[in-house]
């Protein structure tokens, strides 16, 4: 990824993140969170992780934040806007951020910069030749089929956990429907 683009998306993300906390209006906060997600997905795409970047927008910005905004709009915003920030939570939050930054600097300063090596696509292609020929041919052509690779690992390597998570989500959905229907009777 070209460096200017990295800085652009990183700045979008960081400004969005700061604005979420700093802005008083909840709708503006939610929208800055969307901006932050868009910046984050730009960074993912810059790392050639197209699928993760797109899903970031599709799931978080496109679905979850819309529901957030939906709820926020039904609230009375006047009370929220008048609320003054208290000192104790502010200091607590800043303390956590400071601690985390110090830890991050500590870890990063001790990790040596590894040399960048290009992906060995031919070897990867050979490894996939038996199990999934479709992926193998794409790797041999010099593409990195990230969607196919994620699907391959998810459905072949972690099939049972995936099914269990699916059932869990279904149970949660049905539970919500049952709980919300009970009040009617």
């Amino acid at each position: 990824m070209p460096l200017p683009l990295f800085w652009f998306f990183a700045l979008v993300m960081l400004f969005g993140g700061v604005a979420v906390v700093a802005l008083r209006n909840p709708v503006a906060s939610a929208l800055s969170m969307v901006a932050s997600f868009v910046g984050l997905s730009g960074l993912f795409i810059g790392l050639n992780a197209f699928f993760v970047g797109i899903i970031q927008i599709l799931v978080y910005a496109g679905a979850i934040m819309v529901l957030f905004i939906f709820i926020i709009m039904l609230l009375d915003l006047k009370i929220e806007e008048k609320r003054a920030p208290k000192l104790a939570p502010l200091l607590g939050g800043l303390g956590i951020v400071l601690g985390f930054t110090i830890q991050l600097i500590g870890v990063l300063s001790k990790t040596p910069n590894a040399d960048w090596k290009p992906l060995d696509l031919a070897a990867a292609s050979a490894a996939h030749a038996q199990s999934s020929p479709g992926i193998s041919t794409k790797l041999a052509e010099g593409h990195l089929p990230d969607v196919n690779l994620i699907g391959d690992i998810l459905f072949k390597g972690y099939n049972l956990p995936l099914q269990i998570v699916g059932v869990l989500l279904l149970v949660a959905t049905i539970g919500v429907v049952v709980l919300s229907k009970r009040q009617e009777a």
Partner: protein, 426 residues
């Protein structure tokens, strides 16, 4: 220097395809909308705007069949007073129209408009960004369009726009699920998320809904039927058709078009989310709506109707067409693609002026109860059809039995849970 040329090509593609191809389609489809609705209602429609030759003593004006009408409308909308009511939340009020137009235009970048253009032996794809996640990209970006409408409704700070905004949010989120699920069979069939590859495959082996030819010739030749995959391809026609119906209907709902235009239905909500808007800001909502319609049509055409391909093996010949040193096959394919898209837009318009508007609970019922389940079952059906040649008879019969049982159970559950309207007590 190489970088500069690459950048120039990208800029040329962005400007050419977005602002010279898709954006002009917006006023053109407005014109089509008015003329076509006029034909349906036995009127004439706008046919007067043109060169006023009578001023210069000629007998008749030259009117271009009213094709200049959209330009006159545009000028009118630009020159109208841009009035901002005092009770709105200003920043969001200004942001909302832009947020409806921008996502629709950004999604243009993954639509394959034609095959490659050859210049000096250098092939240039007629796609702005040849992404490997094409359909997902379109869904992701167009799902951001809901912010524009929601914010417009909320920031207007008045009753009817707010109801319109809330309606549209609920509607768009609901139909996004059906939209996403309904294309899964198509993506399963091609095993690829790159729209260019999908179109290429359809050019060779027949469009998804019209698999009338393959590498061995058209359906009336003998070679066609000897292909081992022909039967499977025709069997896949059933899930493909179901997917097509669900997808097309969801696109109608997603673009807030009739019969699902409840966010802006005049009879209930004055004007819906854009009640407080005027002048160009008002027009931008409609530009967003029509641009979304153009993109929706081009996605339907790309996935189900062969994209830029002409079919019957003619594509290879078109790709070889040349004027001098420049291969112009890409432009011919682009014309084919545009013709298909315009035909589909006409279908959009035909539906708008023939089908009455749904009630809101009917709309939600259709999305959540019928389309959601149908799309899920369709994924199952498509998987069975695709896996058919790889398994023995027992596995296949077992899978079909499971599918039938699940379908019957679902239909039964729907019948049982359906509430009968209580009789009026007097």
């Amino acid at each position: 220097m190489d970088l500069l040329i690459t950048l120039l090509i990208i800029v040329a593609k962005v400007i050419g395809l977005t602002f010279l191809v898709v954006l002009p389609l917006v006023p053109i489809s407005v014109y089509f909308e008015r003329r076509f609705s006029a034909i349906i209602q036995d009127r004439v429609g706008p046919n007067r705007v043109g060169v006023p030759l009578t001023w210069f003593g000629a007998k008749k004006d030259f009117s271009f069949f009213g094709l200049i009408q959209p330009m006159a409308d545009g000028v009118k909308l630009f020159l109208k007073e841009d009035f901002t009511p005092s009770h709105v939340r200003k920043a969001f009020y200004w942001l909302a129209p832009a947020l409806t137009v921008v996502p629709a235009l950004v999604t243009v970048c993954v639509v394959p408009f034609g095959s490659d253009i050859m210049i000096n032996g250098h092939a240039e794809k007629l796609v702005i960004a040849n992404l490997d996640v094409g359909p997902l990209f379109i869904f992701a970006i167009s799902s951001l369009a809901v912010y524009g409408i929601t914010l417009a409704g909320w920031s207007s700070n008045s009753k009817f726009p707010f109801i319109g905004g809330v309606r549209s949010t609920a509607q768009m989120i609901s139909y996004e699920i059906a939209l996403g699920l309904s294309v899964v069979p198509v993506l399963l069939f091609y095993g690829d998320l790159n729209l260019s590859h999908i179109v290429e495959a359809q050019a060779q082996r027949g469009w998804l809904l019209l698999p009338l030819w393959n590498e061995h010739g058209a359906f009336f030749t003998e070679g066609y039927w000897k292909d081992p995959e022909v039967l499977n391809q025709w069997l896949f026609w059933i899930p493909a058709m179901i997917a097509f119906v669900i997808f097309t209907t969801s696109v109608f709902a997603e673009t807030n078009r009739m019969p699902f235009d409840l966010p802006e239905c005049e009879t209930e909500l004055v004007g819906g989310y854009h009640t407080e808007y005027s002048s160009m800001k008002f027009a931008m909502f409609f530009m967003g709506e029509y641009a979304a319609m153009v993109i929706g049509s081009s996605l339907v055409v790309t996935l189900f109707l062969g994209g830029w391909s002409l079919g019957f093996g003619a594509d290879e010949w078109i790709k070889g067409l040349k004027i001098g040193d420049v291969g112009i096959g890409g432009f011919v394919h682009m014309a084919v693609f545009m013709a298909k898209v315009v035909a589909f837009i006409l279908f959009f318009i035909l539906v708008r002026w023939t089908v009455p508007r749904f009630r809101y609970d009917q709309l939600m019922r259709l999305g959540w109860v019928i389309f959601f389940e149908a799309a899920l079952l369709n994924v199952f059906l498509a998987a069975i059809v695709i896996a058919l040649p790889q398994f023995g008879a027992i596995v296949n019969i077992a899978a079909v039995v499971v599918l039938v049982v699940v379908t019957a159970a679902l239909v039964w559950a729907l019948k049982v849970s359906e509430k009968k309207p209580a009789p009026l007590s007097i």
